[in-house]
């Protein structure tokens, strides 16, 4: 990604990034969750939280998606579909794992039909913990991911705890 590019390439990449950051198309996939995270994701689209004001558009096809929002611990049955979806998305693509199950299997860690988290199956760019995470936390995570796409900022590990923010610990 750091090879020399022509001016034209720089401009089109910049436009694409701007478009991606300002109106990413998002696909939601449930890999076997209890639906708790899914309903909080849907809630972010409703008037109180209104994720769409950030330009995020939820749509139904992997071929048009920039960002994949993934919930669930990945059941064996859902695994193939998840891989398929990931493959059908065009580069550059980003995956957000939402909820404890998506992070590590959550309460279902070790269960026989469960792979144990999204990153056991496909690469993940952002992790939003919670059981389920509040809509505000989901929005926060997605906005942070979008912010990291701006050229000036390289992706980095952002781990903020309430204590750090309060200046303690």
């Amino acid at each position: 990604m750091t090879s020399k590019r022509s001016l034209w390439q720089e401009v089109t990449e910049g436009l694409k990034t701007w478009a991606r950051v300002n109106s990413p198309w998002v696909l939601h996939f449930n890999s076997g969750s209890c639906n708790g995270c899914d309903i909080e994701i849907l809630a972010t689209l409703t008037p109180r939280y209104d994720l769409e004001r950030f330009g995020v558009k939820l749509q139904g096809s992997p071929r048009h998606a920039d960002v994949l929002l993934c919930t669930g611990p990945v059941t064996r049955q859902a695994r193939e579909r998840l891989i398929r979806i990931y493959e059908q998305m065009h580069e550059p693509k980003f995956v957000v794992a939402i909820g404890s199950c998506a992070l590590s299997g959550g309460a279902f860690q070790g269960c026989y039909n469960v792979m144990g988290g999204i990153d056991h199956v496909i690469p993940v760019n952002a992790y939003i913990p919670g059981c389920p995470p509040r809509p505000e936390a989901i929005i926060d995570g997605v906005v942070k991911l979008l912010g990291s796409l701006l050229p000036a900022r390289q992706p980095q590990a952002i781990v903020e705890t309430e204590l750090e923010k309060a200046g303690v610990g």
Binding site: H28, F29, N30, S31, G32, S33, C34, N35, G36, C37, D38, I39, E40, L42, A43, T46, P47, R48, G60, S61, T71, G72, P73, T75, Q77, A78, E80, R81, I83, R84, I85, Y86, E87, G106, A107, F108, G110, C111, Y112, N113, V114, D119, I122, P123, V124, N125, A126, C131, P132, R134, K144, L145, S148, P155, Q156, A157, I158
Partner: protein, 398 residues
């Protein structure tokens, strides 16, 4: 954010890997537009909870079972708590039981508002989806103020509940209930008079009483076909003997009936919550549980928003249950859907499914449609099937 290269994971690139088949959730055989056969593949959300419950102790299991379903988390935790209390021969104190019913009815309200929005979305009424979910936020606020969480409220303890309801909270809740009741009346009005909506629900998906009984339907799906199954009334548990609800029945058996039954249930839930808040028994919140849960079996049946939840538990005297069985209402109602859609138009399928208020994620379901007479097959996403229904009806109404 971590770097994008996973450790030790190779992403298959290039043409589709031949071993990766597309597991279809639904498969319909159609003759023109009419469905002649339907098949549903479950298992996408099968996490092996019953086995996991045997490997965790009784207290851990409470937290596990709250997560069977994010929409009806409380009813599962309540069923489990009641089952373990039955094994231990413990009765939770009256105030705890009343609070349990309070949360259960609040859950029913949030679930029915959620379902209202999702069904409206299936029919193409996105405005109603937005409004009903906005209103639903009132219920989420109430649940959060009582329990500390919007979803997975974790109200139950083995032996009682974790929190009390204060007087100011009660006053706030009563105000919110007034608002919710007014909104529910508005939606009932819209849904029962809107011509476009009625086109998709009136006379569609009819299930007679006999059919509903034979197919094992439960919950509002059954009550809309005049089958008097409501465990809060026929087999009252927790505080329902003291705070009874009225069973809502409808004899039309179509989608419209299923919608109206749930709407009327909302009013009953609001009414009973008001009563509980005004007449809350004054007792402690937790009963003492024995240190060891005794050997034995217990069966508990509760009325979740979707219908009957059946819990079986077997204790062997150790700190882990020997066997736990969870039978959810959706598996009973799915039976009826698979049979109901046969003979209907493909365009009716999304609404017929919405009519049972299925407890699995609505977002990603692949649908395979096979034309009977020439064997051609089409794979579509659920959104495409939904759009097919919306387009079909908007064409036919011109």
């Amino acid at each position: 954010m971590t770097d994008t290269t996973p450790k030790g994971f190779t992403i298959p690139i290039g043409p589709q890997h031949p071993a990766l088949k597309e597991p279809g959730h639904f498969r319909f055989t159609v003759d023109g537009e009419i469905v002649t056969r339907a098949y549903v593949r479950l298992g996408y959300a099968h996490r092996g909870i019953e086995k996991a419950a045997e490997e965790r102790n009784y207290i851990q299991d409470l937290y596990l079972l709250e997560r069977v379903c994010g929409i009806c988390s409380h009813i599962h935790a309540l069923a489990y708590s009641l089952a373990v209390e039955q094994l231990a021969n413990v009765q939770a104190p009256p105030r705890a039981q009343a609070i349990r019913v309070l949360v259960a009815e609040l859950e029913r309200i949030h679930s029915h508002f959620l379902w209202m929005g999702v069904s409206a979305h299936e029919a193409g009424f996105d405005t109603l989806f937005m409004y009903s979910w906005r209103d639903r936020e009132q219920v989420m606020d109430i649940l959060e103020s009582l329990t500390g969480n919007r979803v997975n409220y974790s109200a139950n303890l083995l032996g009682g509940v974790k929190f009390d309801v204060g007087r100011e909270q009660a006053a706030q809740i009563l105000l919110s209930l007034d608002y919710l009741e007014e909104r529910a009346r508005h939606y009932l009005n819209v849904l029962s008079k809107d011509a476009m909506f009625l086109q998709r629900t009136r006379g569609i998906g009819v299930m007679t009483r006999a059919q509903a009984e034979v197919m094992g339907a439960v919950g509002p799906t059954a009550r809309a076909s005049n089958v008097p199954r409501d465990l809060r009334v026929t087999a009252p548990y927790a505080a329902y003997p003291e705070f009874p609800v009225k069973m809502i029945l409808d004899d039309r058996g179509d989608l419209e009936a299923r919608f109206e039954v749930r709407m009327h249930e909302l009013f009953e839930s609001i009414r009973v919550i008001r009563r509980i808040l005004n007449e809350m028994p004054e007792t402690e919140l937790v009963a003492r549980m024995p240190r060891r849960i005794p050997v034995g079996e217990a069966v508990v049946r509760l009325e979740a928003p979707r219908g009957e939840v059946f819990y079986y538990i077997r204790g062997d005297g150790t700190d882990k249950p020997e066997r736990l069985k969870v039978r959810t209402p959706t598996i009973c109602n799915l039976n009826s859907v698979v049979r109901l859609v046969v003979g209907h138009q493909l365009a009716d399928v999304p609404m017929i499914l919405a009519g049972i208020d299925p407890c699995f994620s609505c977002n990603d379901r692949m649908v395979q449609v096979e034309q009977a007479h020439n064997g051609t097959e089409r794979t579509m996403t659920w959104s495409e099937l939904r759009q097919h229904g919306i387009d079909f009806y908007s064409r036919s109404s011109r």
